[in-house]
């Protein structure tokens, strides 16, 4: 299980990654899975499930925009924040 932070663009994905990495959260950028990206294409940031809440709190605190946050497990995605 892991967390995907869906961002508007690759630029925003990098911004999210930088912010989270500076806070000690391991984050990596990947293409947004098609079942999440309804508009097609785009990038998201993956973080370990254990860091999900901390990541969301950091983004909100710094007012970094994102589209939504998903908990992904076995090909299923559950939206946990938007």
């Amino acid at each position: 299980m892991y967390i995907l932070i869906h961002t508007t663009s690759q630029t925003e994905a990098n911004r999210v990654k930088r912010l989270l990495s500076s806070g000690g959260i391991y984050a990596s950028i990947q293409k947004t899975p098609f079942f999440i990206s309804r508009t097609g294409c785009g990038y998201c940031v993956r973080v370990p499930a254990r860091d999900g809440e901390r990541a969301i709190a950091a983004l909100r605190e710094r007012r970094v925009p994102y589209k939504a946050v998903y908990e992904v497990s076995g090909g299923e995605a559950r939206r946990i924040s938007s």
Partner: protein, 378 residues
């Protein structure tokens, strides 16, 4: 070869720029901004790092407003054609390069009224001219920071402060100042800044910047794929994707970031002082040579200027200087408006533009060469 054509392009780049460019060409000529494999993602990270450093360098609120373009002309076209439509008024100075002038005239042929303010010798007079134009109402003002012909520095902070007070979009053409004059978009009331990457910022040719600071809405000039929101029929609203359709100049963007880091490490002020002192040295020396006219214009000047050997056509003078191994630019410098303002439209000028890597010995060599040429042509 002695290179005094830095206003056209900086010939020498920091080693880090060459290294970054070649490395990116080798490693990242791939699906950057489109694909998800390691090289594509890593390139995206390096491009983002460049955006962050550029945003910091120009005092911007967000790295998302850093848009990579082909050159300053490309950026200026996006800014002007994206901001103005029929019925709007645009104010420009009478010192503008054709990038602004021709774009403004094109807009004028499509229902935008264009108002020309006078970039005078005196800053107060310049500001008064702009204030009078603003009084008549305007949607946007676009001004060159430094004339690419005469090197006079326009009082953009004063002009833009007045424009901001009236809700007018402020657009700066920083083609001759970016990298050598400290610019803070937030403090200097600049909404949009356009500049090349290959001049003072020491990046590769084929790079430029459109910097948008704050909430300015522009229509895109070019439509196409952005690597995101592909099912949307319109271009995305968010930056920088709205203005970066199509695969970009990955190596150029990464190398431009290195150029900016180099300048940050030295400091704009040091570069400006160096360029200006070389220009002052050459202007002083040329003024003492009989049959040579140096054109002085404006209260404040940067590291470039124009002159003529009175008995020679400007193109002949430049050709003769090249016989001495010296590179300068001659003609109208794509800025007929500036020449008309200063009175050199009918004969053009020889432009000398110093850069961060020029040496005093090179300035001395130019003076010796002009002295020889002027003596021979008298």
């Amino acid at each position: 070869m002695i290179y005094f054509d830095c206003a056209a392009s900086s010939l020498k780049k920091p080693p880090s720029v060459y290294d970054a460019y070649l490395d990116a060409m080798r490693r990242f000529s791939c699906g950057v901004g489109r694909s998800g494999y390691g090289a594509a993602v890593r390139a995206g990270e390096l491009i983002y790092a460049a955006r962050e450093d550029i945003a910091d360098f120009f005092g911007m609120q967000s790295a998302s407003g850093v848009i990579f373009t082909q050159n300053a002309t490309h950026a200026i076209n996006i800014a002007l054609k994206g901001a103005l439509s029929a019925g709007d008024r645009l104010v420009i100075s009478d010192m503008e390069h054709n990038a602004v002038y021709r774009s403004a005239l094109w807009l004028g042929s499509r229902g935008v009224s264009v108002d020309f303010s006078h970039a005078a010798h005196s800053d107060d007079e310049t500001c008064e001219s702009f204030a009078a134009a603003f009084e008549r109402g305007a949607r946007a003002v676009c001004v060159t920071h430094v004339s690419n012909v005469f090197g006079n520095v326009l009082p953009i902070r004063r002009i833009f402060r007045e424009a901001r007070r009236r809700g007018i979009i402020t657009i700066l053409d920083a083609s001759q100042s970016a990298g050598s004059i400290r610019i803070n978009m937030t403090d200097d009331f600049i909404d949009i800044l356009c500049c090349p990457g290959h001049k003072g910022l020491m990046g590769p040719q084929g790079t430029g910047l459109l910097l948008i600071n704050g909430d300015v809405t522009l229509s895109p000039l070019i439509h196409g794929g952005t690597g995101g929101a592909s099912r949307d029929e319109d271009m995305p609203e968010y930056l920088p994707d709205r203005f970066e359709a199509g695969t970009g100049h990955t190596a150029g963007a990464i190398a431009l970031g290195e150029g900016v880091r180099f300048i940050k490490s030295i400091g704009c002020e040091a570069i400006f002082d160096h360029e200006k002192s070389l220009a002052a040295l050459m202007k002083r020396g040329l003024s003492k040579i009989g049959g040579v006219t140096v054109y002085e214009y404006g209260e404040n000047t940067a590291g470039l200027f124009s002159f003529n050997i009175d008995a020679l056509d400007c193109e002949q003078t430049a050709a003769r200087l090249w016989e001495h191994g010296i590179c300068v630019r001659s003609g109208l410098h794509c800025a007929p408006l500036a020449h008309k303002t200063v009175g050199t439209l009918e004969r053009g000028t020889v432009r000398v533009s110093a850069g961060a890597f020029n040496k005093k010995s090179e300035a001395d060599a130019l003076l010796r060469a002009v002295r020889d040429i002027a003596r021979g042509s008298a």
